[in-house]
Assembly symmetry: C2
Homo-oligomer: 474 residues x 2
């Protein structure tokens, strides 16, 4: 491009905005799920379409929880059968149009439907629609909550506890907000369990250099796929109460539970079952979205958060803050309504809806099992059961020689590994270093979303690649 | 609610997050367009619907540029006639589903269509789709750009020049980012014109306490409705070049030009007509949206920004930053595509599309004139011509006695005035203090969006209220 050439020729010091004068917190932001590997994958797709020869015929993306992109069909009800509900939603829209702004907190009737959904889910624990804020995907709600929590300077700067491995939205948001990231490690040996002594260790250490104010949990886990037991959730709530931490529960995978004996328990429900000593005092924000579960409707950017025990003055500030961006996208709000207000027995769409939902979740459960099984047949790869969510996060052994070559290139060893796999096989995974991992260990995150036949091919290719890679660098 | 009562009873000091421990930048955020007046208007609507007696039968909202909420019908093409285009857009979606995430920068084919639209609009000035970022409404793009620009501490903290009166998204974003707001005043006596000596004054003063890096322009103006002349835009560009300022041009009202002799000139076009001395060096971000013009599709949160002369490394940082939120809502992207890629002569929807678009814009032009005319018949109200956009911003005389009563109540005098008008007439306006105004002057912002018959009633009521108010406090 002419403009590019001009720009390169031009003296950079004349520009207002350069890499040296950009907001330094922006530079610190990292988001591996769409990092260099994915950029290279997009280039490779373009090169393939231009007829360039590659050792593979197509790029298979197993890097992101994007179900429809991987061929999962939209649930028919969300696209075709929702006319009567659409009318009700339009009734609640300004001028009866999806084109009008909604209330900044979200459409009233949608928030009411969300509240009723939560009550059904949690066995009758009451939910107040005033505690529901609709959001632009769950990401928006999470970042907004973190924004409220950040204050102080130096040793009194807000610290936020996040699991390692974590979903990098958390680290990215904390970097941008200039908050302190406090890492607590999940126990890989015990199926990525969350151990209270580890929480305590992380907290005690952090108190020496910051002011820890919040504890983030992802359940079912991303990228690690574990499902927390009820007992564990109770322990975490007790810990938060004792240490006065604001709890943030990322529960966007609440329908994605596959393993026998595992069940989803919402933090809200457990909190209320623990009695008023906890349910009247522990501050909790819980997040949900249209993007995961059986829906996979990522593109609509629908979501909500429920806020328990939030101070009324803080809530007023939150309402003011979200009003600056006017409202979450109305089509996403409408879709969220369909999710929390699905067809009932006797309604025309009911049978088909149940069939499609069951089929989607069963297929995911099978693929979760298949992924674990095949990966564990590979020497040098060990994979915990994928109890829930949409990802496996296997540990991989990378030979010393490969670690050395990566280091010389200034790359993380698992980035080196994943980039090589992409170039040789067309498979797009995310290096474990993008999520955080114990020093000296290496992982990758792989979604279980490709269709079964493609997933089998993918797993075989991963196996073959790993064996070749290990041989090459031994 | 039981939970409310519990909360009030509970000792507040036990909470993690209170008004005293919230992020202090959040407290500083203000957004008048959805402030206390609107909250009260919503309450009044509820009270009316519950049968409470009021001195009016309905609340008329003239506070926000929300066309569909005010009864403007969606353009048929955007809702019904866009099948073939929808197929093309779906072709570009992952899994051919609107439910898949798009590229973080936006769908490629939509960005290409945007680029072609800009080229047509600007008489052939080339546009590179790589310079286009789709956004969640224009607000999202503006905040993101400001985020990139903010750095430094104390006297080297980034300063951003914004017009006074301004659209409060700017002040809110700058408060949240902790940047310095530099006010330059539009010249009310000369139809809200932008004078270069005033820019210079504001800049020179600001250089004593911060590092001015960007200059924001809204054209056509919000809340002031002026349309900048080509000459004025050229002067602004020269000023930005001389003073090394990053230009941010908020051009979301680009089709909303009503006054004879006025015409929309994009900053991009003027920049390129000024020759390479400018077009190769001045950094410019221009913003557009689906929410205004003849579309009024606010709820979809569609928008784009075009970035001229942005440093490549900065662009890489921007792409990384937006990837953390995954993508703008895909339905909004699809709608943006329809806006920039409207029906062509010979296509089935063409005639109807042109008819609807023309009718919508003509009606707005008439209402702009009507608003100016009627308001100027009122003694104590003086209103500049509404040359463009969707708002009048008349100056109002508030009697000393009313100013005193407001001050005693701790209210801005124009807030006092607007709240009283709302309570007595049901008309919802936004006080001028929410946008900024010269000390000692008072204004309100009123949209021209209500349907003609309702607008006439509204204007008569405003007139009557103002006369009564003036009498009461004289």
């Amino acid at each position: 491009h002419a403009s590019r050439v001009k720009q390169t020729a031009r003296c950079k010091t004349l520009l207002v905005l350069t890499i040296d004068t950009i907001n330094p917190t922006v530079k610190k932001v990292e988001y591996a799920v769409r990092g260099p590997i994915v950029q290279r994958a997009v280039e490779l797709e373009r090169e393939l379409s231009q007829g360039m020869k590659k050792p593979f015929a197509e790029v298979i993306k197993a890097n992101i929880g994007d179900a429809h992109a991987m061929g999962q069909q939209p649930i028919t009800f969300f696209r075709q059968d929702a006319k009567s509900r659409a009318c009700r939603i339009l009734q609640s829209c300004g001028g009866h149009s999806m084109g009008a702004y909604s209330a900044s907190q979200g459409i009233d009737s949608v928030r009411e439907d969300v509240a009723r959904y939560i009550e059904r889910r949690d066995g009758g624990v009451p939910c107040d629609p005033d505690d529901i804020y609709l959001t632009t995907g769950a990401s928006d709600g999470i970042v907004t909550m973190l924004k409220l929590l950040v204050c102080g300077e130096g040793a009194s700067r807000t610290g936020v506890m996040i699991s390692i491995p974590q979903y990098p939205l958390y680290s990215a948001a904390l970097a941008e907000l200039g908050a302190v990231q406090i890492n607590y490690y999940l126990n890989e040996e015990k199926c990525w369990s969350l151990d209270i002594p580890e929480l305590q260790r992380a907290l005690d250490e952090a108190r020496q250099y910051c002011n820890p104010r919040a504890l983030c949990i992802i359940n079912p886990g991303n990228p690690t796929g574990q499902v927390q037991s009820r007992k564990c959730i109770e322990d975490v709530i007790q810990f938060a109460a004792k240490e006065r931490l604001f709890l943030m529960a990322d529960e966007v995978y609440q329908d994605n539970v596959y393993a026998d004996g595992c069940q989803f328990h919402s933090f809200k429900k457990v909190l209320f079952e623990m009695g008023p000593e906890y349910s009247d005092t522990v501050e909790l924000a819980s997040f949900h979205s249209t993007s995961k579960c059986y829906m996979g409707e990522c593109g609509f950017r629908g979501g909500y958060m429920e806020l328990i025990n939030m101070d009324d003055e803080v809530k007023a500030q939150l309402t003011k803050l979200v009003s600056v961006r006017l409202c979450p996208p109305v089509p996403g709000q409408a879709l969220m309504d369909l999710v929390v207000n699905p067809p009932q027995p006797g309604e025309p769409s009911y049978d088909n809806f149940i069939k499609e939902r069951t089929a989607t979740l069963s297929a995911l459960a099978e693929k979760a099992k298949l992924t674990e099984q095949v990966l564990n047949t590979v020497q040098g790869i060990s994979c915990n059961p994928v109890q829930g969510a949409m990802y496996s996060f296997p540990r991989i052994t990378i030979p010393e020689k490969a670690v050395k070559e990566a280091t010389e290139k200034g790359q993380q060893p698992d980035m080196f590994y994943c980039m090589k796999m992409l170039e040789e096989t067309g498979i797009c995974l995310v290096p474990g270093s993008g999520f955080g991992q114990k020093d000296g260990t290496y992982h990758f995150r792989m979604t279980i979303l490709p269709p079964s036949d493609k997933l089998k091919i993918l797993l075989d290719k991963v196996k073959e690649f790993h064996q070749k890679f290990t041989q090459q660098y031994s």
